[in-house]
Subunit: 158 residues, 3 copies
């Protein structure tokens, strides 16, 4: 086991949980850890590009894609979201306090070498294509996650 | 510490989180791991039999039991459930993509030797009796969980 | 790595998840483990004093503070809360079954030597001041958490 490895499964697509996962990941990477973030289910929305990508989808895939937030800038809060008002309040406060937003946290993660993996099975189920996700993301399944987790000393599910 | 042991606490009774936990558990078991899933609180609903079991309960116990989903086939989504419509959409998509549903994932887990433990304290609080849960489930408390977690190298709370 | 160390991040401020995290923490402490609980985001509400503390806050900070539950006695359920009715039902059942409530679980945790840490960055974002939290809580950031997690053999995010 490598004392310098951490993995985080990002299942949630909520602004607050995405922030928490990236703050832990970036903190660990800054302290010299090898960090893998595995984005699955709603967590995939954290990695979506903000602009609409033209892709042929089935009706249900298109409906899912349309209902889910496109990228880090549109995520809602897990509590007290009130149709996005809570998330706006949170973003305003974070700007006032000079706390990085999720887009900035993702850029920092990438510059620190945090590995961002999108779960290929969830992408299939949710009808999200590789072209819809930000650059630099890798694609893999549960076996890859388990291989990484076996070598890590901290494994979180968020 | 045994490199081949994993534990997962399934606290959530949501369709999507139940799927995620079982996919990880089954993946780990298929790769030769000893896996223990510890179902607690809402997670107990994942293990409920689909059919009503006649049991004498207090009023509050009966109310809880009536409001909570009976088994894997009735779970809702953690997000965008819209009174079950989201969960139906998800089930339809999964069928289209040939992804196993939760009942099938549980059967696979059992055939792979994944240990399914129902938290006895939660059962007491929520008024769920052993007869209401599917066959092959064991019953234990937090000390058993901690004993297993101490021997595992990946421990998740879902 | 120390076989006798556990960490739990308490991100959630829900009654049911707070209970689960404290039951695990107290169980581990009673079995001789060194346990650190790191309360962040909504989890900070678990540590708030029940009485209002007079503090000058910005408008958004005051609004957040007013909307969030003040302390363990006012937490809601993560599911089926129905404006607090679900949480009341749960508290009634717990009393009937002689299960400790969250306040009692926190007292037990403190008497067992469980370290309760409030995340200083979340406190800043949510506008929660040290005086608003119960006595005996420590304050630290993500680096402290990661240092503790590195030495623990079970690390959960709840």
């Amino acid at each position: 086991m490598d004392m310098n490895k951490k993995t985080i499964i990002v299942f949630s697509g909520d602004l607050d949980k995405a922030m928490a996962s990236l703050i832990i990941a970036n903190g660990a990477a800054a302290m010299g850890n090898e960090v893998t973030m595995f984005f699955t289910f709603w967590g995939l929305n954290v990695l979506r590009k903000p602009d609409k990508v033209k892709i042929k989808k089935s009706f249900l895939e298109a409906l899912f894609g349309w209902m889910m937030p496109r990228g880090a800038g549109r995520l809602g809060l897990s509590k007290m979201n009130f149709g996005g008002m809570g998330a706006s309040m949170m973003r305003t406060i974070m700007k006032q306090k000079n706390v990085s937003d999720v887009q900035e946290l993702i850029e920092t993660a990438q510059s620190l070498g945090v590995k961002l993996i999108a779960c290929s099975m969830s992408m299939d189920v949710m009808g999200i294509r590789a072209e819809e996700l930000i650059d630099g993301v890798e694609f893999a399944g549960v076996a890859t996650y388990l291989g990484e987790a076996d070598e890590a000393n901290v494994n979180l599910f968020i």
